[in-house]
Symmetry: C2
């Protein structure tokens, strides 16, 4: 086990605890899956990947684990379009560029100040999600041909 894996495990343990959740092998596995390939997988994709090293894991558990990770501040839930929700372990301030042509999702860091948003009086902001729709460079090039 690498030092990197160790530190991820430590953070997982700590954050789950802070969120009132237990550390379980399934949650560790699901978190690993998110960290290993940061391509904004759906719950179904996470399920498939998680099964590779833990074949007996169930669908409901994957949802439970993902929810626990989201509530513990270790992952974000991303809803870009109708259909399956995606998950993202990048907790830096960033926005999502979504290519309507190929479906790929790009994280782009929000540099400097957060966008200045007016807000309803008294509203307590927990987080915000910025989704940008359009066509990525590759797809734009293909379309031009």
């Amino acid at each position: 086990m690498s030092a990197k894996t160790n530190s991820n495990e430590a953070r997982l343990n700590e954050r789950l605890g802070a969120g009132g959740f237990r550390f379980t092998p399934q949650r560790q596995r699901v978190y690993d899956v998110l960290l290993q390939k940061r391509d904004h997988p759906t719950a179904e994709e996470v399920f498939i990947r998680a099964k590779r090293a833990m074949p007996e894991i169930s669908h409901a558990t994957v949802y439970n684990c993902l929810d626990a990770l989201v509530q513990s501040g270790l992952a974000r839930q991303v809803t870009l379009e109708r259909g399956a929700t995606r998950f993202c372990p990048n907790m830096e301030e960033h926005c999502h560029y979504y290519c309507d042509a190929c479906g790929e999702v790009f994280d782009v860091a929000l540099t400097g100040d957060s966008p200045l948003l007016p807000r309803p009086k008294g509203f307590k902001i927990a987080r915000y999600d910025i989704a940008v729709h359009g066509v990525c460079a590759d797809c734009a090039a293909k379309a031009k041909k």
Copy 2:
């Protein structure tokens, strides 16, 4: 029929045409439903409301109409959370405040400059959606008690 309704109908007709769609009574009805109560209804809610004046309208038609409106630039599709997609006829630049406690959605106009977003090279932006999650003033007050 009021002058207001007339102008909405004219715009609907024009925009549908520009988008390559036909004007139909069902599309008019669905658009009316969106305009009459701007509370970000789900497709199911639109279906129920549309039925009141058009009892024979079907589920599939409501989806078809909503998609036509979205593609014609007359409505926006809003995905704030897992579960049903919502629809919004407000085409001004605005962001959505979503109360995680009561589920209410508030439109807030984006004043002045759009937030400056860095973007991937070559990405052609079609539109962007800003969703702010948190707790609205009412729910925050209730929670404090």
